[in-house]
Amino acid sequence: MTRLFARHRILLPVISLAVLLALTFWLQPRAMSYFGMNLLFNLAVPIALATVAQMFIIKVNDIDLSIGAFVSLVACLTATVLVQQPLLGVLALAALVLAYAGMGAIVRALELPAIVVTLGMSFVWGGLALFILPSPGGESPEWLSALMSVKPPVLPMAVWAAAVIAAVTHLIAIRSGIGTVLRGVGGNARAVARAGWPVVRLTALAYGLAGLFGVLSGMALTGLTTSAGADVASRYTLLSIAGVILGGGEFVGGRVSPTGAVLGAFTLALAASLLSFMRLSPDWQIGSQGAILILVLTARLIFTRRGATR
């Protein structure tokens, strides 16, 4: 049993999500429908994208404290510049992705602690966002809102989106050759360097991918909420870290799972909903989020520890 968990790390996030989902359906049978699932999960889509972005950073043994501010900035750009001047907007978003890659290159080349650099950058992104959108507003591009509210057959948009995100990032991070090398950097950077790879450039690539998914997250968020604000996603930093860990990832060693990260993000979103279905007293609604995080992570750590000493 424990060996099974050690082999297939993905099982634990799947089971946590399934258990929470079952509890939710039991408490709120109405959620068990096309409509219900959409309501439960559609706002988890941008969180999942941000979690994937965080995963690319954790994959190379760093941590990103700026992703929430970054996603907010992207949302602000999407709701303003991208609508008014689409070309400029696209260029700005591309520049942001490059800036992320540059951040990675600087972190690795100067051997700076990523946690500090990203902390500083979180102020920069937040400031730029305020600059673009001093108060909430803006309007998401039509096509984006339409895209985020499509009603695909069989399953709601959120579930399809999760499947697509998981599949695409799985392809990039796990299946592709370069993704494999990137995970190698997290696992044993020395071995990768010995085999002749330029590690600084690889790190920049990982950060660049994180930037790309950060951009997607901000756009998805704007499409869903139809507008933006300078701190609309500030919680995403900690949510994304928790999501990666819930999804079976580890802070060091290049051990991450894109599918797990998506599931982790969905689990977090679901946990919040479950708590609200339980109708706790408002005093304890915030604390219970912490408690449920501790519970789920404890389960995970018991399994991985047993797995390690098998």
């Binding site: 706002l43 988890a44 959108l133 909430p136 909420t225 609309v232 408002p282 915030i286």
Partner: protein, 312 residues
């Protein structure tokens, strides 16, 4: 009378919100006992996040509430969720932090007017004008922008006033205190301080610590602000004004929701005045305000029916 109403609140971290939750509970408990409504649950998310609140609204749709009373984190970012609620036949009533979605009702407070009233009061008190310090709220929010706009627009009318400094106090005494203390050394003599509520006491503390003469600081109905004012008045005749939204506005929104569910025809915009405290009403306001809380007013069904009747 068996209808279910939910309160969606995005923040619980200050005395205003806590007083609001308290008012909600007092009034709705009684309403349930009186069989005027079936159920009225309060839900709170942390940290003023629109995304979490949107998810919360979506959950309320699933839970089958008949109406959602909403203090929104953002006027626009919840519109997606609000529209879904409307589509599901749920009545949405926003107050304090209102939403712009056309299908929702709004219990509106004219924030710009608040800002203008502050400046007008100062103009009356300071006919010679002088330097003003502006203490703003949370950067990036719409309420902050609205009040500030009202203040700046109105100052245009009084050329003798000059806003010489502007800091963000996040509607919190300790943050305001810190921000004001940081700019005071570089400011000339200040005649008046325009604020946004919840920051007047901190501002006063900062002036006191810097050993500067106390300007006229507009207060925001917090108990500590009012009692400081009272004390200063006793000592040296200090006079100012105080205004804010009463946290009990939530109960007004509640009764509006109840009326709508009852089939009454209610206009989309219900406007309410501020709760203003003047030197004359100060003692009375202090008496009715719990220690450490904020001046409040709970609305009754009759109050609301009267307001709605007047509105027509």
């Amino acid at each position: 009378a068996s209808k279910k109403i939910a309160l969606s609140n995005n923040y619980a971290g200050n005395s205003w919100r806590q007083a609001m939750l308290q008012s909600w509970k007092t009034v709705t408990d009684q309403a349930i006992k009186d069989k005027k409504i079936g159920q009225a649950d309060a839900f709170t998310t942390s940290e003023n996040q629109a995304t979490e609140q949107a998810a919360q609204i979506q959950n309320m749709i699933l839970q089958g509430y008949d109406a959602i009373v909403l203090d929104a984190a953002s006027p626009t970012a919840l519109n997606g969720a609000v529209k879904e609620a409307c589509n599901a036949g749920i009545k949405v009533i926003s107050f304090d932090g209102i939403v712009t979605a056309p299908c929702a009702w709004r219990v509106v407070v004219d924030f710009q007017k608040w800002g203008r009233d502050e400046v007008d009061y100062l103009a009356k008190r300071l006919p010679d004008g002088g330097n003003l310090l502006e203490v703003r709220g949370l950067a990036g929010t719409s309420i902050d922008k609205e009040i500030s706009k009202g203040i700046h627009d109105e100052v245009q009318k009084y050329p003798k006033f000059k806003i010489v400094g502007s800091v963000h106090g996040n509607w919190a005494q300790d943050v305001a205190q810190k921000a004001v203390a940081g700019v005071l050394p570089s400011l000339p003599k200040i005649a008046g301080v325009v604020t946004q509520g919840g920051d007047g006491y901190g501002t006063a503390m900062a002036f006191k610590a810097a050993g500067r003469p106390e300007p006229i600081i507009i207060m925001g109905n917090r108990e500590d602000e009012l009692s400081w004012w009272k004390q200063e008045h006793a000592e040296n005749g200090y006079t100012t004004m105080s205004a804010s939204i009463a946290p009990g506005i939530a109960t007004l929104a509640f009764w509006v929701a109840q009326q709508i569910l009852d089939g009454k025809d209610v206009p989309k915009d219900v406007s309410v005045p501020f709760l203003t405290v003047t030197q004359d009403t100060l003692d009375n306001a202090l008496k009715t305000t719990p220690k450490g809380s904020v001046a409040n007013k709970n609305y009754t069904q009759a109050d609301v029916q009267a307001i709605l009747a007047k509105g027509k």
